[in-house]
């Protein structure tokens, strides 16, 4: 592992830790989220990964990365569609909040970081980010969003998307391993 790669990996871990810490801090300091706020976080979290996949489609030339990015775009769009349809059915209007704002702010930094990468360095940076991002989102769903959700249908939706996010993490880790051994 060269110095640039190691630096990139450390940055990814720091960003992921930052997301997890902010989510955990919020969970401890502000134990109540409304369902409208939970819905907003769910929408934002999915949209962020769709945006990452769009950067990958623009910057990568690697077939495996492009295919993974396509899967992320399709799956997170499907989840987003379910979340929006349920919010509409329940009459819930997603409400911006401290967690969704923090997610967006961190994502903005990540977007800049990914866009600044050379073609050669991009693929590893993207898949490292996918691993850390999915870890953070899974932790947020399990420790914050599901416990905070009042509405049973919204809670079930969050429980139903967890296996998909865990499969994404496993898939991303598999791809990441291939890049780390290159």
């Amino acid at each position: 592992m060269n110095l640039v790669t190691r630096h990139s990996s450390i940055m990814m871990c720091l960003i992921a830790c930052s997301i997890m810490l902010s989510v955990n801090a919020f969970a401890q300091n502000n134990p109540t989220l409304t369902d409208a706020e939970v819905a907003s976080i769910a929408v934002v979290a999915n949209q962020i990964d769709i945006n990452y996949s769009q950067i990958a489609k623009k910057k990568s030339k690697n077939a495996e990365i492009l295919k993974f990015a396509e899967t992320m775009a399709n799956d997170h769009n499907a989840v987003l569609g379910q979340a929006v349809a349920l919010a509409k059915k329940l009459g819930v209007i997603p409400k911006d909040n401290a967690v969704s704002q923090k997610l967006n702010a961190d994502a903005e930094k990540n977007n800049k970081m990914l866009n600044s990468k050379s073609t050669e360095a991009f693929d590893k940076a993207y898949i490292d980010n996918e691993v850390e991002y999915h870890k953070a989102v899974i932790a947020a769903i399990e420790t914050l969003l599901i416990p905070e959700t009042e509405n049973q249908e919204l809670k079930e939706l969050l429980q139903n998307v967890l296996p998909a996010f865990k499969t994404h993490l496993e898939h991303a880790t598999m791809v990441q391993h291939k890049f780390s051994t290159k």
Binding site: N74, D75, A78, P163, H171
Partner: protein, 114 residues
């Protein structure tokens, strides 16, 4: 004597015919094809492993709202192409094979032909 011999011969033919019929009807090589269902839900093939016989049919049903496929692993010699939510795909099994979802490559299953 002649009548007794003919009777014995007829009895032998009857016995032989009955034994032949019993033997044929219980021949394990003759198998009525069966249909098995694999449910795709919660990002898993359920059951992930099926033991079946050559000529049986497997029907995969996608219950996830995410699109999946069923593809032979590792050669991709057969594939279902995309299976949307609520849709299914069927295949007559001719040999044992491993398979996976080529969209989510960590989802794996196995068909074992006895």
């Amino acid at each position: 004597m002649i009548t007794g011999s003919v009777k014995r011969r007829n009895s032998f033919y009857w016995l032989f015919s009955i034994l032949f019929f019993i033997n044929c009807s219980s021949d394990p090589a003759i198998h009525s094809p069966e249909a098995y269902t694999v449910e795709i839900k919660q990002m898993k093939f359920q059951p992930s492993e099926l033991v079946l016989q050559k000529g049986d049919t497997v029907i995969w049903i996608n219950h996830d709202f995410i699109v999946h496929d069923v593809t032979e692993d590792p050669g991709k010699t057969w594939t279902s192409s995309a299976i949307q939510n609520g849709e299914s795909w069927r295949m007559v099994v001719t040999e044992s094979s491993n398979y996976f979802c080529n969209i989510h490559q960590v989802m794996k299953g196995k068909l074992l032909v006895k």
